[in-house]
């Protein structure tokens, strides 16, 4: 997919401008104006070139980069795909990367300079103010200036911050990182005496103990870790010896869902288990735990394949003992310096010296929303005479600051980034700038630092210094590859102290424990501006357009509350009202509060979706806080997307589980009255590996982004009218306290004996020569009979003209028509991508996005294709095969009991 850029990169912006201009010309000749870009109905637009190009660039999550290829058409970035060469992407994407094009095209993005929250058309006043403040700061050496940013690993941004601090030596830099776990850093200090991070190589791990860790869950390293874990599973299937994943957790996670053994424990119980396992290896005082001995034995047996991971919310002692155990076992971990470690203070540190602050520059951070409870940010912003916020969105902080400056979206600007493992990558504009007034964050810093701020200059300055004479060649290479080769730091050859002094466990707390967690779709709240993520059912629980606190069934029964009941949560005198979701697999006594909701100012989204758990979050204990009290309010709130009774007693389970090497006997093929279809050429098919599917939802959003799937909004979603062509079903089994979860992505099955085809009175859904079951939108009159007859329920109906509603399809792929009101639509196996691939390898959007490569797609007539090989595996089976629909999409059974 990488199309090397034919022109030298410094010219790219002018090139893209030219492309934009030619698009405008084409539009003038045709019927699209730029606002209507890519809005074909039924057919491809005329006048827009079919040739698309991909540019390698990098996007950050929590300051750590993930490489992407931005597919552009006529100068517009329309879809992001993973950069296969980037270590934090490996060709895959997650939901946050997929939704970045939406944020880029968000009509509610910040477009104007603002003073006291009010938009200004003219920048002159701002320029005057900025010049005056610079002069004032120059006189005082920066006394009173504070810079507040999000976590920063970017070499250029860090260099510019250093330059800024050099210009104003008395200024200070503070970092607000709501997703950071201070205990992890403290644990590393305890074990090694210096800030390091351990990078686990899950691909080489044969026995993993996760102590509250969620390596498969969302985060900057998810894609790499999930790929590694899937590789280990693949090797295990090959060898007939599956790797073991033992997960101890308080609240269900994606990792827990894939665990071979899952222990539901409160945070303190996880700590006790960790200490007992460590004690079994001779670290720390003897401690007993009923589960410790077998786990220790398993780890010992795995030897260098053993791996212990400590997660968010665990105290420093558990992080330290995990480091110690990994060293002791020879676990496959690489120790590298923390790419985010910076000589910066914290938000609490900033507030501690609030009196001294006269100037506050907030760059790409939203402390007015995501600061912990008890830190009076609003007060600070009111008191500070001069404050400037720069951000892509108009958010809570933007409105509270004296000035707000619109920032460019990362897809519109130059920059660089480091991945979780330290690999650096260059960011380049992959689209025409959609907001001309906006400025790149590095350009702002460069300006303040007194450097050349134009375009790529700040980034080039960084790397020219690093590369010297080699610069020109390496710069081009790095831009094309999407990463800077060999820029990852060498692993540190250090060992933990032999006598790690584990601090004693905290005294047992009374009452309920509040566990704060990043939200599966909103993360820390920064994605609350994006409709795709609001309308994405959370992998566990299925809630969308809102949030819920998770409560164990036992606790819910004790309180007498059911799903949707609104509780009053009280923690340290602060109160919050939130609906409850009774969650099997949640540890009793533990209440999980997802962060990221309840934003009051979130771009074009209505305020107050979900609830603001930051308002309860203590600064001292950001992840686990005891002493929570619950009180039912008697009110109830519908949880959109959550369906209670989902389990069905089935003759044949829909998610099959087999032992390694075991084969599922094929079903007999009943005779049919109709001749079978014949495919002399290609025949498309799909195989989805349920053993490696981690339920991350990346495929769902990739499909939505690729196929112009409209957002229907909370009211329609509550009615069950979401339009996702691909859904990931959560299949639960077992008793509530030990619930096991499987994920099953369900796209259209493209049945050979398609039940939908015969019931359509007007032949709107038909079979094509390569076995695709196609929808002919213009022919559909909307009887919906096909949906009734589809046993997989993969067909979606345009109850209203969703695609034409404002904001429903903000970014449009011109290769896929928008569907009008009253027609059925469904998965096409990305027919347009098949066509675009020609004789080459066709990849569906979902397949491309999958971090674990669980989706195989291709020509089943070609015996050497990956999909044909997958379908020949013994564990291949058809969903509802007994109905004899002969689906082209089949599944590979999960390995395990």
């Amino acid at each position: 997919m990488t199309a090397p850029d034919p022109l030298p990169p410094p010219d790219r912006r002018s090139l893209l401008r030219a492309a934009g201009a030619s698009l405008a010309l084409a539009a003038a000749a045709g019927c699209d104006d730029p606002q209507e870009f890519g809005a074909p109905l039924h057919a491809r637009p005329r006048g827009v070139s079919a040739d698309s190009a991909s540019y390698a660039t990098v996007l950050d999550l929590d300051g750590l980069g993930r490489g992407v290829l931005a597919r552009t058409l006529g100068g517009h970035a329309i879809k992001l795909e993973g950069n296969p060469r980037h270590p934090a992407s490996l060709g895959a994407t997650d939901v946050f990367l997929e939704s970045a094009v939406l944020a880029l095209h968000d009509p509610a993005r910040s477009r104007h300079l603002r003073r006291q929250g009010r938009a200004l058309r003219d920048a002159a006043e701002f320029e005057t103010w900025l010049a005056a403040q610079q002069a004032a700061l120059d006189l005082r050496g920066g006394e009173g200036l504070r810079l507040l940013t999000g976590p920063v690993a970017s070499p250029t941004t860090r260099r510019l911050i250093a330059a800024l601090l050099a210009r104003w030596p008395a200024a200070r830099w503070h970092v607000q990182a709501p997703m950071e776990d201070p205990a992890a850093a403290a644990g590393a200090m305890l074990a090694f005496g210096r800030p390091v991070v351990a990078l686990p190589a899950l691909s080489r791990a044969t026995c993993v103990l996760a102590l509250g860790a969620d390596p498969l869950g969302p985060g900057p390293a998810q894609l790499a870790q999930a790929r590694g874990w899937a590789a280990a599973r693949a090797a295990g299937r090959e060898a007939g010896r599956m790797p073991a994943l033992i997960v101890a957790e308080s609240t269900p996670s994606l990792t827990g869902a894939k665990a071979d053994r899952r222990l539901t424990l409160p945070p303190a119980g996880i700590e006790a288990l960790g200490r007992a396992v460590a004690a079994a290896f001779g670290l720390g005082p003897a401690a007993a735990h009923p589960e410790a001995a077998p786990i220790a034995a398993a780890l010992r047996a795995a030897g260098p394949g053993a791996l212990v991971l400590a997660g968010r919310g665990q105290p420093e002692a558990v992080h330290a003992l995990a480091h110690w155990l990994n060293a002791r076992l020879g676990a496959p971990v690489r120790l590298v310096p923390d790419p985010l470690a910076a000589p910066a203070g914290t938000l609490a540190g900033l507030l501690a010296q609030a009196e001294a602050v006269t100037h506050l520059l907030i760059l790409d951070a939203n402390p007015a929303y995501d600061a912990p409870a008890g830190l009076d940010i609003a007060g600070l912003l009111r008191r500070v005479p001069h404050s400037l916020h720069a951000g892509v969105q108009v958010d809570e902080t933007a409105l509270a600051c004296g000035w707000h400056l619109p920032l460019r979206h990362p897809l519109e600007c130059w920059g660089d980034s480091r991945a979780f493992d330290g690999t650096a990558a260059l960011r380049q504009p992959a689209t025409v700038p959609l907001v001309e007034a906006a400025i790149a964050p590095d350009a702002l810093l460069a300006r303040l630092a007194g450097e050349a701020a134009d375009g790529a200059a700040p980034v080039q300055a960084t790397w020219r210094a690093a590369w010297g004479a080699d610069f020109e060649a390496r710069w081009l290479q790095a831009l094309e590859a999407g990463l800077i080769a060999d820029s990852a730091p060498a692993p540190l050859a250090i060992a933990p102290r032999a006598d790690v002094a584990l601090p004693p466990p905290a005294p047992a707390a009374r009452g309920l424990v509040a566990v704060f967690a990043p939200d599966a779709t909103l993360w820390d709240g920064r994605f609350a501006t994006e409709a795709w993520l609001h309308e994405l059912p959370r992998p566990l629980g299925g809630v969308m357009w809102g949030q819920a606190v998770l409560l164990a069934p036992r606790d819910a029964a004790a309180l007498g509350v059911a799903d949707g009941a609104v509780l009053e949560l009280t923690l340290a005198g602060r109160r919050l009202h939130a609906p409850v979701l009774v969650t099997p697999g949640q540890a009793p006594g533990v209440v999980t509060l997802p962060l990221g909701g309840g934003r009051q100012v979130a771009g074009g989204m209505p305020g107050g979706i979900g609830f603001d758990a930051y308002s309860l979050r203590p600064a001292a204990a950001p992840w686990v806080a005891p002493g929570l009290a619950l009180r039912p309010t008697g009110a109830a709130q519908a949880l959109v997307g959550h369906l209670p009774e989902r389990a069905l007693a089935e003759a044949t389970p829909r998610v099959r589980r087999v032992a390694a090497g075991e084969a599922i006997p094929p079903l007999p093929t009943p005779r049919s009255l109709y001749e079978p279809w014949r495919y002399p050429g290609r025949a498309w098919g799909m195989a989805i590996d349920l053993d490696t599917c981690i339920g991350c939802n990346a495929c769902v959003l990739a499909c939505q982004a690729e196929n112009n799937t409209p957002v229907v909004g909370p009211e329609e979603a509550a009615m069950g009218r979401t339009m996702h062509w691909l859904r990931v079903d959560r299949v639960e089994s077992g008793p509530p306290e030990d619930r096991s979860v499987d994920f099953q992505p369900v796209p259209c099955m493209h049945c050979e004996k398609a039940p939908c085809e015969v019931v359509c009175p007007v032949n709107a859904t038909v079979h094509d020569a390569e076995g695709l079951n196609l929808m002919v939108y213009p022919r559909c009159i909307g009887t919906r009979t096909c949906s009734n007859n589809c046993p997989y329920k993969v067909r979606r109906f345009n109850w209203a003209g969703y695609a034409r509603q404002a904001g429903a399809v903000p970014v449009r792929n011109p290769a896929v028509p928008l569907r009008p009101r009253g027609v059925i639509e469904k998965c096409t196996y990305c027919q347009h991508r098949i066509k675009a691939a020609g004789e080459g390898v066709a990849e569906t959007a979902c397949q491309r996005a999958c971090p674990t490569r669980a989706i195989h797609f291709g020509d089943i007539n070609d015996p050497d294709s990956a999909v044909a090989r997958a379908k020949r595996e013994g564990r291949s089976y058809a969903l509802l095969g007994e109905l004899d629909t002969r689906p082209r999409t089949t599944y590979l059974a999960r390995i395990g009991a």
């Binding site: 859904r727 019931v759 009175p761 067909r795 209203a800 109905l883």
Partner: protein
């Protein structure tokens, strides 16, 4: 022959004033019909998003009401046909308005399959015509069968009603002319197709009438069956059952009979036709309703029992329908359709209109609940767990239902205003038979 005795029947349409009750009824039903027009325009303007439907409940009131109205139409005309073919004594009294009720119900029903479409203005694409696209309908689709089913239903029901009406229209023509209302006489005369009452006319009329009736009979069963096949041919476990056509035909009977019963009572009271629709007629009608209800009881029991012997999916689907989220509809239907009409076996109940009529209407409501239970409750247990919330009708759907009730009522009121409600020639024929030695 005592032409004298049918005078009150023919007088009714010739009366200039029908009284305030009739005017009020016409106004009310016309208001409801206007509401229907509003609902239809709103639907065309805003689309099916107005309804409470979703995935998987893609069908709601559109299909529920369609199947219900078709059931009423079928039962009413089935009843009329049986009377004609068996030359039953009751036929003179009730078959005319039974036919009219059937026609009005078909008209109400025929609206739904069109409005139910996502793009209703393209409904004609189900018609096999040589289109420029060179595309024929998918003849394997039950929806195409249904198109033929409903089309023949409309045509044959109309023919049946109209053929029976011709001699009476001629009578009306003559009596209107005798009263000097020549304009009215001309209109009646146009529709009487030049009927002069010759023996040849009578012979041909009898042959034609009986032939149309004979045509109606199998077609009614088949029309109902096709509607049922729309469900039965899908893979949905609770729908995919061979018994479904029988069940839909059988459960349609009490609702149609109940409606006819209620109409008969209304006509007796409202138009003073007690002599022509006598107590024995009402008695027989009530007994028929009770008997049909008993047959439904058998159908219900059979469904439950046979489901128990079926495969797991079907068994669970039946259990979900009878005991799941829509259990109230299922048991409500069983109560109103099967149990309640059994009271009509009691002479004291069926002889009193104030008991018999509510019971008949309750049976019609019960069958509506049964259709709801079939369309929505039948989907509770599909092959995979449900992906959407439950279906609940929205206000626009209720408006549409109220509107079609209004249309039905309006058509019947217009019918009583302009057409003899009791078959005069049959009454004369009956009485002459009675007079004969």
């Amino acid at each position: 022959m005592s032409g004298f005795s049918t005078r009150p029947v023919s007088d009714a349409p010739l009366r200039r004033d029908f009284g305030w009750r009739f005017t009020a009824a016409v106004l009310a039903s016309a208001a409801l019909t206007l509401l229907l027009a509003y609902a239809v325009v709103a639907l065309l303007w805003r689309g099916t998003a107005l309804w409470g439907t979703n995935i998987p409940f893609v069908w709601g009131f559109d299909l529920i009401n369609y199947v219900w109205w078709i059931g009423i139409a079928n039962a009413a005309s089935l009843f009329a046909v049986v009377l004609v073919l068996r030359r039953h004594g009751l036929r003179s009294a009730v078959n005319r308005f039974a036919e009219a009720a059937a026609l009005a119900a078909v008209a109400a029903a025929a609206i739904y399959p069109i409005l139910h479409l996502g793009r209703p203005w393209l409904f004609y694409w189900t018609v096999p015509y040589p289109a420029a696209t060179q595309l024929w309908p998918q003849f394997r689709s039950t929806l195409v069968w249904d198109f033929w089913g409903i089309m023949s239903h409309v045509v044959v029901t109309f023919l049946f009603w109209y053929t029976g009406l011709i001699p009476d229209l001629a009578t009306m023509r003559d009596r209107a002319a005798a009263r000097g209302r020549l304009g009215l006489a001309r209109i009646y005369g146009f529709f009487a197709l030049g009927w002069r009452g010759s023996v040849q006319h009578w012979a041909r009329h009898q042959a034609a009438y009986r032939m149309v009736a004979a045509m109606v009979l199998p077609m009614l069963v088949s029309a109902q069956t096709i509607v049922a096949l729309e469900f039965a041919t899908t893979l949905v476990p609770e729908w995919h059952q061979a018994r479904l056509p029988l069940q839909v035909v059988a459960t349609g009977l009490p609702s149609g009979l109940g409606v006819v019963l209620a109409l008969a009572a209304l006509l007796r009271g409202g138009l003073g036709l007690g002599r022509y629709i006598d107590d024995a007629d009402m008695d027989l009608l009530a007994k028929l309703t009770a008997a049909a209800a008993l047959a439904c009881g058998y159908v219900y029991a059979e469904a439950l029992l046979v489901a128990w012997l079926e495969d797991q999916a079907t068994r669970q689907a039946m259990a979900a329908r009878a005991f799941g989220a829509y259990a109230g509809l299922y048991w409500g239907a069983a109560l109103l359709v099967v149990v309640l009409p059994q009271l009509l076996w009691l002479k004291g109940v069926r002889r009193r209109a104030r008991y018999a009529v509510p019971i008949g209407l309750a049976a019609a409501i019960g069958v509506w609940l049964d259709r709801f239970s079939l369309v929505a409750g039948g989907l509770l247990r599909d092959h995979l767990p449900r992906t959407g919330p439950l279906y609940a009708p929205s206000l626009p759907e209720w408006t549409l239902l109220a509107g079609t009730v209004g249309l039905f009522a309006l058509m019947l009121l217009v019918f009583t205003r302009f057409v003899p409600v009791v078959s005069m020639f049959e009454t004369r024929h009956e009485e002459s038979e009675a007079d004969a030695p």
